[in-house]
Symmetry: C2
Subunit: 334 residues, 2 copies
Amino acid sequence: MKINEIGEFGFIERLKLCFDNLLQGNQVGIGDDCAVLSANEEEDWLVTTDMLMEEVHFLRQSITPEQLGYKSLAVSLSDIAAMGGTPLGSFLSIAIPVDVDVEYLDAFMKGYHHLSEKYHTPLLGGDTTKSLKHIAINVCVIGRCSKGKARKRNMAKVGDIVCVTGCLGDSAGGLKVLLEELPFTKEHEELVLKHHLPEPRLDEGHFLAGFEAVHALMDISDGIASDLVHILKSSGKSAVINVDALPLSEALKKTAELQKWKTLDLAASGGEDYELLMTVDRRALELVQQHFAEHFGKPLYPIGEITEGEARLTWRKGFRMIDFHPSVFNHFKK
Amino acid sequence: MKINEIGEFGFIERLKLCFDNLLQGNQVGIGDDCAVLSANEEEDWLVTTDMLMEEVHFLRQSITPEQLGYKSLAVSLSDIAAMGGTPLGSFLSIAIPVDVDVEYLDAFMKGYHHLSEKYHTPLLGGDTTKSLKHIAINVCVIGRCSKGKARKRNMAKVGDIVCVTGCLGDSAGGLKVLLEELPFTKEHEELVLKHHLPEPRLDEGHFLAGFEAVHALMDISDGIASDLVHILKSSGKSAVINVDALPLSEALKKTAELQKWKTLDLAASGGEDYELLMTVDRRALELVQQHFAEHFGKPLYPIGEITEGEARLTWRKGFRMIDFHPSVFNHFKK
């Protein structure tokens, strides 16, 4: 059987079943943004690991080594943000083809260091090795959060409002600019930068996890059409999302209009935005929104709500239900 | 500048300098088998990460998927053993080319699960993604040890006896059997199995770390000619090793004689034996050896001693100093 027949999540499901019997105590293993381990009486520790492969996740000629170093760490820091945690340190494994020179690696590490410094995350170890052809990168980040306060995907409740921390689809738009080799206008450059230099929402995640009313929390790596379904499956709930409420940047709207892109497809299933996706108790929504806006000078966007039912994601446009089927991301699909 | 001009360890040295300023509290970062983090008042936690690349670390046609799954975990568990720790859980990232089928992955996970179960190490998370050509694997393992008891490379003292837990060079011999496509005799098969299914010395590491007299400890991944120099550099000491004392298996001796291999080169710089290498207070050596032999039913092998001086490794044969220069392993050397 080919791997694309069961897909990435099919394979992960098999792994989860196979290893659940080895879990000890209150360990949380496979199936969330991070594993959760009880480190001491005040803290849980969070662990996440992400792999980036050349020509699958990035093209060496499109992304500068500095941007690649930054992004390699950013995607794992984003998983710590997705649990409401704070990073403790990172571990970098990198497989290097012989045609990569030291200057390239120095630039890579400059970008990695920049983000490490910004979020006080030391590089604590790793592995370097040779690769025959492609650069392979794996970053593991360890973080911490207050005992029992990690925000998991299974915490959504019926009636919760689904919110996101920022614009959706920019990163996917940036990727399209690169793949379609569009000229670097101001808007195109803005989208490409969102694709290459995503900001891990650590401050936002930590802030939001301070509210009891913020229930399920995760980061948007594959697009909400795919990511929200993880929350729905874990929580045993359904959701209705209003496509009119999806926050879109001016750069994406303008470019999509000119290039005749399907904006909603990009926003719903584009992936790699690394904004946070959460469900908030509707009675506290206004309060959370107000505090968030005061603290960060930007809004928290409500985009839909959690409903009864088993993991069904439906879409409306204003008050009208619509037949919308954004393509769902799958690494193993051709 | 090409990466092979500074080598793997040159690159790691650059990283260490670049990130040391971000270390917090008593974190131990780059430069040992594991990073050491203070988890609570009784325990330090250990973190290690290892990357395996197809056609660099393994050949898909030579190793079965089950063996590959086993070995991927074994090399990281060995790093936990090298600190005297006990594993808590593992994280597996795997990049999968489209020509790999589900049956291959199931067999891989069977081997991985076998070792996970043996050492009570649940798989707690990971990442699965597509690869264009080669399988790339990264395993991160978290472990624990009693507070302040992690055995580090910088703990060697002048007069210490250098010991190893088992035979050297078998894994390198097994690799030669594969590369030279020798027929699978009983001895050849024994060597190949040592190469494909190394036993992480977790029980031995944990046991040895119980003795105050066991000072520096590490695992042998690149061969003692390379690995012992890490201990010498970290400790600011030198060492003299007696080549006559290097423990050699009957299978290696017999095969080496028939194939005219340089046995000592294989034993000193072959790599991937994953036995433990340590320095022991000479006054307690006999006691440690005796307890070790009673507990494990096999000897602890003394192979040399720690001397004054800056990281110089010299060799003797019996009492005669010899001019011996085993090739030192470097991934980036052609």
